[in-house]
Structure formats: structure tokens, C-alpha cells
């Protein structure tokens, strides 16, 4: 797995590279400029590009645009977006235009080697990866009459796992239940929230995320 890092802050860039190397991940490129990364992606030398959201010159969402370019022009390269923001709106447009191979992690997730390597492996395998903090933010039903009030505790755990991009078997492992039980839970959830579950796994993630982000049942 060949990984490239696009991050404008020198200290953070070095830190990410060292953490990746510590976890035995091959880092082929670590740059501050999108142009250098894009050139390497186009040359076909990169499996996963880790991209910071805020980059020069405007420091708003250049990283998201770089990610979008990579996904549209070079679909076999995966993109893992690194951000300081717990904002689902940042990631939803990118998810809807990519069938997979996209992830969104908070930067401090790099400190958790297991999660980081797992995320890299999953986006490489074509899955969607969403930071659990985003899901928590989306599922944080502070309103008693919110859209998720109808779900049981277990069903909410399953829904959160789906939203993070986990497959049925991964959810089963994660929650120590059988895959069959997961499927039953999902059927109930989608029925209660009126979400169409016929879509493939990545589309299912998107449907769940969109539903959660819209904030209504």
C-alpha cells in the first residue's frame, strides 16, 4: 500500500509521516502543494492520498477539491481526508460523487495507529470510511422527539456502524453478534426510518448519512 500525504503544516506533515512509518505503512510522498501530489497520482504511483482539508491559498476547502479531482480523474486511487472539523457537510458532497474509496478522519485519529491503518486498508479495498466522531455528531439526538427516538439502543449502535462504513460482517464482529442478527436489526431500522436498503453497501452508507444529516424522520 503506497501512501502520499498532502498537508501544508510542516510539523503535522512530519508527524503523520512518522506515525505512518511507525505503523509500517509505506509513505512515498509527503508534500505541501496539491500540484506535486496530483502529478504523482496521475503517474499511477499512489494507492491512497491523505489530504488535509484546509490548504493555501484560501485555507477553506481546497483539500476537498483536490480529493474530488483525484476521485473523478483517477478512480483507482483512494482518498482519505484529514480534518480538524467535525462537520458532516464537508464530506457528504464527496461521498455522493464517489462510489467508494473515500474516507474522512479527524487528524487526531492518526494517533490511534490501529484505527488509522484499518481506515487506510478499508478505503484501499473500495469502502467508505467515516470518522466515528462525525457519526456521533449526527446521531447525537439532543431532541427527545428526534428522528432516531424510535430506534432501540442496539439498533442505534448498528445504525452508527453502518454510517461509519462498516460491512455487515464487520458490524457483527464489532458488536459481538451474528451477521443474521445484524440483518434483522437493519431491516427494522430501515423500515422505521423509511430508508431504501436495496442499494449496495456504499450506497447504503450514503443513504444513512444523508438521512442523518437531513435531521428529520
Amino acid at each position: 500500500m503506497r501512501v502520499a500525504v498532502l498537508e501544508d503544516n510542516h510539523l503535522v506533515r512530519q508527524g503523520i509521516v512518522r506515525c505512518l512509518q511507525e505503523a509500517d505503512v509505506e509513505v512515498v510522498l509527503a508534500v505541501a502543494e496539491p500540484a506535486a501530489l496530483l502529478a504523482e497520482v496521475y503517474a499511477g504511483g499512489i494507492d491512497v492520498a491523505m489530504v488535509d482539508v484546509r490548504l493555501p491559498p484560501t485555507f477553506t476547502d481546497e483539500g476537498l477539491r483536490v480529493a474530488s479531482r483525484i476521485r473523478s480523474s483517477h478512480p483507482e486511487s483512494a482518498v482519505l481526508i484529514l480534518s480538524q472539523f467535525v462537520e458532516p457537510e464537508f464530506i457528504l458532497p464527496l461521498l455522493s460523487e464517489s462510489a467508494g474509496r473515500v474516507g474522512y478522519l479527524l487528524k487526531d485519529r492518526v494517533l490511534d495507529t490501529v484505527t488509522l491503518v484499518d481506515a487506510l486498508r478499508r478505503v484501499c479495498a473500495g469502502e467508505l470510511v467515516i470518522d466515528p466522531a462525525i457519526i456521533t455528531e449526527l446521531m447525537d439526538a439532543r431532541r427527545p422527539a428526534g428522528p432516531l427516538a424510535a430506534l432501540s439502543e442496539r439498533e442505534r449502535e448498528v445504525l452508527a456502524s453502518v454510517a461509519e462504513g462498516l460491512t455487515n460482517s464487520a458490524i457483527a464482529q464489532h458488536l459481538f453478534i451474528s451477521e443474521r442478527t445484524v440483518e434483522v436489526h437493519l431491516a427494522h431500522i430501515f423500515d422505521k426510518l423509511r430508508i431504501d436498503d436495496s442499494a449496495r453497501s456504499n450506497r447504503r452508507v450514503l443513504a444513512v448519512l444523508t438521512h442523518l444529516a437531513a435531521g428529520r424522520s
Partner: protein, 528 residues
């Protein structure tokens, strides 16, 4: 009021035309004798003096008096013997012709015209020998005879006439009295050409024509201005701003008045609505003076001529009215400054919050991250003791907790979504965490300016926090001369926050609750 303008221009032109054409007619062969020729302009000049005095116009009096004196002098010296008087009578008229034409014109053409008069008059006389002029059968016995040279005299005469003509043409291109200038030009041409065929007393025409033009012109102008003044006082009595009244009176729709701010040094002028005056461009500026210096300036179309007579002759009531207008213009200007500074404060505050949020993101947060990465690498070392590992792990947890705190803090400073993605995504994010349901409906169009977005965001955030039930938010952008952004919050059970209202007002907008009990709160903000 329009009637007086029509009357003025027609009368002025007709009077001057009559006065100009008359001497040309008298030039024709078989016309009256020389004595009668000189008598006619003398009479017209006399009339001009009288009318000029009536109109209280110094220039008209000056020109007409000079014409009268010179005509009388010319008549006197025809039979007189002193050679200096005869020489003067030949030298002075063309000089006067140039000067008189100058009275019609702007500064540069009038200088050219005066130079032409000088060449055709005194300088020409240096070379003019009446005895060597084959055309001069009845000329004066001696004029000057300094350097007798008929060819040079002729050249100078023609050059002078050409210069006066050139100056008049310049005056034709811009400035007032175009019709009169054409007549004066024709007269100069006829007079100059008469030197080739008529006795050399032709130069006296130079005296007659411009004097007549100037007198006619100024008499007309005097009458007009007297009427304007009378009309102004009357119009102001019936109400209305001086600017509008003057526009009607002078038939100049672009006429503008700006007022001096007495508290500003150097002088600053503001329009009636308090905005900074846009300057005068190529317009004629007439200052109106009051007891404490300049009150206002009147900007007029250059083709309407100067308003000096008007400005000097303003009655105390009109001046008082202008001073009152000055006062309200100054007040409006100060109010505008105040509003501007309030808007600047809000904008500056927003900008500083954004900068602070960015500084936190680029500074403290990145350093904490780098610290976390260092700890992570240190933790991977196999040589660590169990105690050291536990201590480092504790450090790493605290670094992450600090990062979470900083993230919350910077979000509170300026929601990053508001800066990057705009109002609607930011409101959606707000809706998810709000204690009541917030529904965002409709097409909001393109993003408004950032200060408008932040004000709207804060209003919704405040209402969502305090409202008892769900709220529905919609917005619409209106084009037009002042583009605006209107956001409506339906279903709010509480009135808008006062501090937020002040923020909206400072940005030039309004925040109010509908009076019809529909529980709607409306924010209107300009977004030019």
C-alpha cells in the same frame, strides 16, 4: 419659470443680432456718411450703458462705457489736429475690438483675442502710413509714421483680425453665447475684408461691433438674472429645496448644490443626503458666501454661463434657507459617518473572529497535533518501562482532550462551515444540534456577503435556542437598485434579541417581528 428662460435667450440673441448687423449694413456703398456711421454705435452704446446700470452689471457698464468713450473720441478727432489724438483714434479701436470680444469668451480665447486686438491696433500703427495707402483718400494726415511699411501694416491688420476670429471660434466650441459669437465672427470677417476696398476708417467698425455685442449680451443677461432672482425668492417661499428650484429656474436638470462641512479642515463638501460630494468635473462652480464663509457651491452647466451675479444678489431669506439646508446636510453626513463606523466595527469583529479561528487552527491545534504525533512515536519505542509508557499514554490522552476543547472553542468563534460552505450548510449543521426542530426551506440562491451570513446565522441560532417549538427558515435575494437579502424565520415564539437587532441595523438592515401575529421574524440586509 420656463417662460422666463425662453424669453431671456430669445431676447438676448435678438437684441445682440440687431446691434451687430446694423453697422454692417451701414458699411454698404451709398450708406450714410461717416458722421452718421459713428453716431449709431454711440447711440446703441448709450442705451447699453443705461440698461447695464439697470441690471447692476459691472461688466456691461464697463464695455459699453468704453465703447461710448471711444466712439465719441473717434468722432471728435476726425476734425481735430493734434496728431497724437488722431493716432490714438486709429490705434485704439482694433485693440478695443479684441478686448470687447474677450468679454464674451473664456480665459484662453479672451487672451488670444486681446493679443489679436493689440496686433491689429497699436502694433499695426507702427507700420501704417496713411499717405502710402492707395485706398486712403480721406484719411488722417498723419497717424504715427514710425516705420512706414504698408505691407507690414496689412499683415498685422490681417493677423490681428485672424487672431480675434480664432478666439471667437474657440469660444464657439464651448461656453455660452454661441449665436452671438457667430455674429461677432461674421462682423470681424466683413470688417477685415473692408480694408481692401473701403477707406481706412474701417477700423471704427471694430469698435462698433463688439461693443454692441457685449452691450446687448450683458443687457440681456442682466434682465434674465434679475428675473431669476425674483423667481428664486418666490419659489423658495412656496417651499422646496434650493437645488430643485434652481434646476427649474435655470433649466439645468443636472444642476447640483453641495454644502460645506464647517467642522472640516481643509474644506469638505457634502451632498444634501450627507454623502461625500462627487466633485465638479467640467461644471462651473459658484460659491455662495454667508456670514461665516462659504455655505455651499452651485455646480452648473458651463454653457449656461456664470452665476456670479446670482450668488452675489441672494437675499438674506434665501441665504438663511441655504444655511438651513447646509445644517441638515452636515447632520446627514455625520449620521452617515456614524452608521459607517458601526458597520465597520461589526465587520471588523467578524473578521477578527475568523482570523482568531484560523490562528487557532493553524497554530495551537497544529502544535498539539504535532505533540501527539511525537508522543505516538515515543510510545512505539520498545525500550520504554511500563511506568514511562503509562505516563506518555496519559500525555497523549490529554493532548487529544485539549484538541477537542480547542475544536469546540474555534467552532464557537466562527463556525468553519459558515466560512467555507456558506449559510445553508452551516444552518443545517446548526439544525442537527438545536434543541428544537429547525427546517430550512426554499432555494436560497447564491451566497450573500460573509457579514450577512454571520448575522443571519446568529439570528437563527438565537431563535432556535430560545424558541419553544420548531421554526422554519427561508430566504430570498432581491435584485434592484439596492440588492437585499431577506431571511424569514416562521414559528418563533420569542421576539428577536436586541443586541442582534443592533448588529443587523449596523450592517444597514432591519430585524423585526411581524405585527400580524404570524410569529414571523424578518431579517433584511443589503448585499450589494
Amino acid at each position: 419659470m420656463r417662460g422666463s428662460a425662453w424669453w431671456s435667450s430669445r431676447t438676448r440673441d435678438a437684441t445682440a443680432l440687431a446691434l451687430c448687423v446694423l453697422p454692417v449694413v451701414l458699411l454698404l456703398p451709398g450708406a450714410a456718411s461717416r458722421g452718421q456711421t459713428a453716431l449709431l454705435p454711440a447711440t446703441t452704446a448709450l442705451v447699453a450703458v443705461g440698461l447695464g446700470w439697470l441690471g447692476e452689471l459691472r461688466r456691461g457698464v464697463l464695455v459699453a462705457s468704453a465703447g461710448l468713450t471711444l466712439t465719441a473720441g473717434n468722432l471728435a478727432v476726425i476734425d481735430a489736429h493734434p496728431t497724437w489724438a488722431q493716432a490714438a483714434s486709429v490705434a485704439a479701436p482694433p485693440l478695443f475690438a479684441g478686448l470687447a470680444a474677450a468679454a464674451l469668451l473664456a480665459r484662453i480665447p479672451s487672451l488670444v483675442s486681446a493679443l489679436g486686438g493689440l496686433l491689429a491696433g497699436p502694433v499695426r500703427l507702427v507700420f501704417y502710413d496713411t499717405f502710402r495707402d492707395p485706398q486712403c483718400a480721406s484719411c488722417y494726415p498723419q497717424a504715427a509714421l514710425l516705420l512706414p511699411d504698408p505691407a507690414m501694416a496689412k499683415v498685422l491688420g490681417w493677423t490681428g483680425a485672424a487672431l480675434v476670429g480664432f478666439a471667437l471660434v474657440l469660444g464657439l466650441r464651448r461656453g455660452p453665447h454661441r449665436g452671438l459669437i457667430v455674429v461677432a465672427l461674421l462682423t470681424v470677417v466683413v470688417t477685415a475684408s473692408s480694408w481692401a476696398s473701403l477707406p481706412a476708417d474701417g477700423p471704427s467698425l471694430f469698435l462698433i461691433v463688439p461693443a454692441a455685442i457685449a452691450a446687448g449680451l450683458d443687457v440681456g443677461a442682466a434682465i434674465i438674472q434679475r428675473q431669476r432672482l425674483a423667481g428664486l425668492a418666490e419659489a423658495l417661499r412656496t417651499g422646496g429645496r434650493t437645488e430643485r428650484v434652481l434646476r427649474n429656474l435655470l433649466d439645468d436638470p443636472d444642476l447640483r448644490i453641495d454644502y460645506r462641512r464647517p467642522d472640516a479642515r481643509p474644506a469638505v463638501f457634502v451632498d444634501a443626503d450627507g454623502s461625500a460630494s462627487s466633485g465638479s468635473g467640467d461644471r462651473v462652480v459658484t460659491e455662495v458666501h454667508g456670514p461665516r464663509g462659504v455655505i455651499a457651491r452651485i455646480h452648473t452647466d458651463p454653457s449656461r454661463g456664470s452665476l456670479d451675479g446670482l450668488a452675489d444678489g441672494l437675499s438674506p431669506e434665501v441665504l438663511l434657507g441655504l444655511e438651513q439646508e447646509q445644517l441638515s446636510a452636515v447632520l446627514a453626513s455625520r449620521a452617515r459617518e456614524l452608521a459607517d463606523s458601526r458597520e465597520r466595527i461589526v465587520r471588523r469583529g467578524d473578521a477578527q473572529r475568523r482570523a482568531l479561528e484560523r490562528d487557532l487552527h493553524d497554530g495551537a491545534q497544529q502544535h498539539l497535533l504535532a505533540l501527539g504525533f511525537d508522543l505516538q512515536v515515543a510510545l512505539a519505542s520498545p525500550a520504554l518501562s511500563a511506568d514511562d509508557r503509562a505516563a506518555l499514554d496519559q500525555c497523549r490522552s490529554e493532548a487529544r482532550a485539549a484538541l477537542d476543547d480547542l475544536r469546540d472553542l474555534s467552532h464557537g468563534l466562527y463556525p468553519p462551515l459558515l466560512a467555507t460552505s456558506g449559510l445553508v450548510p452551516a444552518l443545517r449543521a446548526l439544525a442537527r444540534t438545536a434543541p428544537v426542530e429547525v427546517v430550512i426551506v426554499g432555494d436560497w440562491g447564491p451566497r450573500p456577503p460573509s457579514e450577512v451570513e454571520r448575522a443571519c446565522y446568529l439570528v437563527v441560532a438565537d431563535l432556535a435556542r430560545r424558541s419553544a417549538g420548531s421554526v422554519q427558515v427561508s430566504a430570498v435575494r432581491a435584485a434592484g437598485p439596492v440588492p437585499s437579502f431577506t431571511m424569514t424565520v416562521l414559528g418563533s415564539s420569542c421576539p428577536p434579541d436586541r443586541a442582534l437587532g443592533q448588529r443587523v441595523v449596523a450592517l444597514g438592515g432591519s430585524l423585526r417581528q411581524s405585527a400580524d401575529g404570524a410569529r414571523a421574524i424578518e431579517v433584511v440586509l443589503p448585499c450589494g
